[in-house]
């Protein structure tokens, strides 16, 4: 039988398959070891890292809604140093490359986190310029091209592996921002982060989340994510990583067909901790059934 070629490239990084896990939904990977073979994944993207450890927001931090969840974790994390010293060594026993999702409150902080990761095993950084759950940084940068330029240029100087910019959907011009990222030297863009959302407790007349607003994720956002990925992949020539409501291989294939070079499985990991592994298997099965031996023959093949 002909072997399947499922490799894809994100800048200089070659992945054995296009299936990654989305930041913040897969912990540091290790939490899922007993549910799936971490070696079967194309990549693991870890929870957003900042320069110093962060406490995050007060509870309630997450709430279920129809077809998804709203979260306002507020980027609680152990900080880049502890990550490098305690988590990364454990992740090294797996063959799967690790991408660090990074975050800061100003361009300098972003660059400092990337610099800290420069001489580690981390295969790439995904820069979160789009988190809706923190006061400074995050979403306010999402549409600010000057800062985006500063961040990309700065990181490129201190970090020699691929730099992926994670785009916010909370904008009317995502293609525009994607084009800017390409111009400033990003190796890839990932889309989308969560949509700003809210839930209200009608008995208490209070927001359910202590942060008032949170980020909506899960299948509820899939149609929006797919449209944005399709638009962005037409706008830029760098790889686009598709994210948003991917629950199974069918969803993943929609994103690949729409133009994504790789995809990330996010909230689905909560529903089924084996989800990302099942997406890998499902894509392989689909390829065999349809006699498609190269995953590249699926990517960006939408007819319209």
């Amino acid at each position: 039988m002909t072997k399947l070629n499922t490799t894809v490239k994100i800048g200089s990084l070659e992945l054995k398959n296009p299936v990654m896990t989305a930041s913040g939904t897969f912990g540091y990977g290790l939490e899922f070891e007993e549910y799936l073979d971490l070696n079967s994944l194309g990549d693991i993207v870890v929870k957003g890292l900042s320069l110093k450890p962060q406490k995050g927001n007060k509870p309630q931090r997450l709430v279920e809604v129809t077809g998804g969840i709203i979260n306002a974790i507020g980027l609680q994390n152990i900080g880049v140093e502890v990550f490098i010293n305690e988590k990364l060594p454990k992740l090294k026993k797996f063959k799967t490359p690790v991408i660090a999702n990074i975050y800061g409150t100003c361009a300098e902080e972003y660059i400092a986190v990337a610099a800290a990761l420069a001489n580690t095993a981390v295969a790439a950084v995904e820069v979160n310029i789009s988190c809706p759950n923190v006061k400074k940084g995050g979403i306010q940068f999402a549409s600010d091209k000057v800062v985006i330029n500063e961040i990309i240029t700065g990181i490129k100087k201190v970090f020699d592996r691929p730099v992926i910019i994670k785009l916010s959907p909370n904008t009317g011009n995502i293609e525009d921002i994607a084009r800017a990222c390409e111009e400033y030297g990003a190796d890839a863009v990932s889309a989308i982060n969560t949509l700003i959302g809210m839930a209200i407790d009608i008995e208490k007349r209070e927001p359910v989340l202590s942060n008032i607003y949170g980020g909506l994720s899960g299948p509820a956002i899939k149609p929006v994510a797919l449209a944005m990925v399709h638009k962005v992949s037409k706008a830029v020539n760098i790889p686009v990583i598709g994210i948003g409501g991917i629950m199974n291989e069918k969803d993943a294939l929609e994103f690949l067909i729409a133009g994504a070079t790789a995809i990330q499985v996010g909230s689905a990991n909560f529903v089924d901790p084996a989800a990302a592994g099942n997406v890998v298997k499902g894509i392989n099965k689909y390829m065999k059934a349809n006699k498609i031996y190269e995953v590249k023959k699926i990517i960006k093949t939408l007819k319209y």
């Binding site: 309630q60 931090r61 809604v65 609680q76 629950m247 909560f270």
Partner: protein
């Protein structure tokens, strides 16, 4: 671990409170205080799994007691004998064993919080314990008979069964120095017990907390609770470092947290 289980019984045992029994092919090893994270639907609504404390378990069975509070538990109550249900578990830590230096052990459960204490009582059985169950009223009392084996007494808010008032009413009369309290129930109750504990010498309260959970696996950081540390406080995960904590070490989140 991932378990495909089959419903062997699912029935209403008190007002809106159900007892679900599952059997699994793959064996499991559960400890009191641990929980399972149950998928109650085949579709994407409700989206999340639902965490429930283990009421009882053997190598091939798990039982939980749940209250119908929303869409997920409502759907769960519609499950019939023979239907398949998938769960992850057992998750979380267990109630620590009784440390040296305690003369008396009291288990205090409020509402469905009594579930994990049943499992604990069963394991501690020989050691001579007392169980206090708090319920809103008579119709909400859970397995009164079963708890009689463990010197079970009941407090109801309206006095329709047992003592009138909160569990603390009974606890007050029972509490002596050198008592270990295992507790599970609403946060408010846990802190009321802790406060009471302070009135005696060497009373420790080990409480099982609830928190809104996204994954139950330690990955999403939804379920955190504020724990006192030498340097201040830190947010730790109820699903991983908990659900059982020394209540003294927990910062009461007040009306905003839940």
């Amino acid at each position: 671990m991932y378990y495909d289980s089959i419903v062997t019984e699912n029935k209403e045992i008190a007002s809106a409170i159900w007892h679900l029994k599952l059997k699994t092919k793959k064996t499991l090893k559960a400890k009191p205080g641990q929980f399972i994270n149950l998928r109650v639907s085949e579709t994407l609504v409700p989206f999340l799994r639902k965490p429930f404390s283990i009421f009882d378990a053997t190598a091939n069975t798990v039982e939980v007691i749940y209250k119908v509070t929303g869409e997920g538990t409502k759907l769960l109550s519609g499950k019939k004998k023979g239907e398949a249900l998938n769960f992850l578990g057992p998750l979380g830590n267990t109630y620590p064993e009784v440390p040296k230096g305690f003369k008396k052990v009291i288990l205090v459960g409020g509402g469905t919080g009594i579930a994990s204490l049943h499992f604990l009582a069963k394991k501690l059985k020989k050691k001579g314990i007392k169980v206090i169950q708090g319920a809103r009223n008579k119709s909400c009392v859970i397995h009164k008979k079963k708890f009689e084996e463990y010197q079970g007494v009941i407090a109801t808010e309206d006095g329709s069964c047992g003592t009138k008032g909160f569990v603390t009413e009974i606890l007050k009369t029972q509490l002596k120095d050198n008592t270990l309290i295992y507790a599970c129930g609403p946060e408010q109750m846990l802190f009321a017990i802790q406060k009471l504990a302070g009135t005696k010498k060497n009373v420790k309260v080990l409480g099982a907390f609830e928190a809104y959970m996204g994954c139950g696996l330690g990955a999403c950081l939804s379920c955190v609770i504020e724990v006192k540390t030498p340097k201040g406080t830190e947010n730790v995960r109820v699903c991983k470092e908990g659900p059982v904590f020394d209540v003294e070490k927990i910062v009461f989140s007040g009306p905003r947290g839940n």
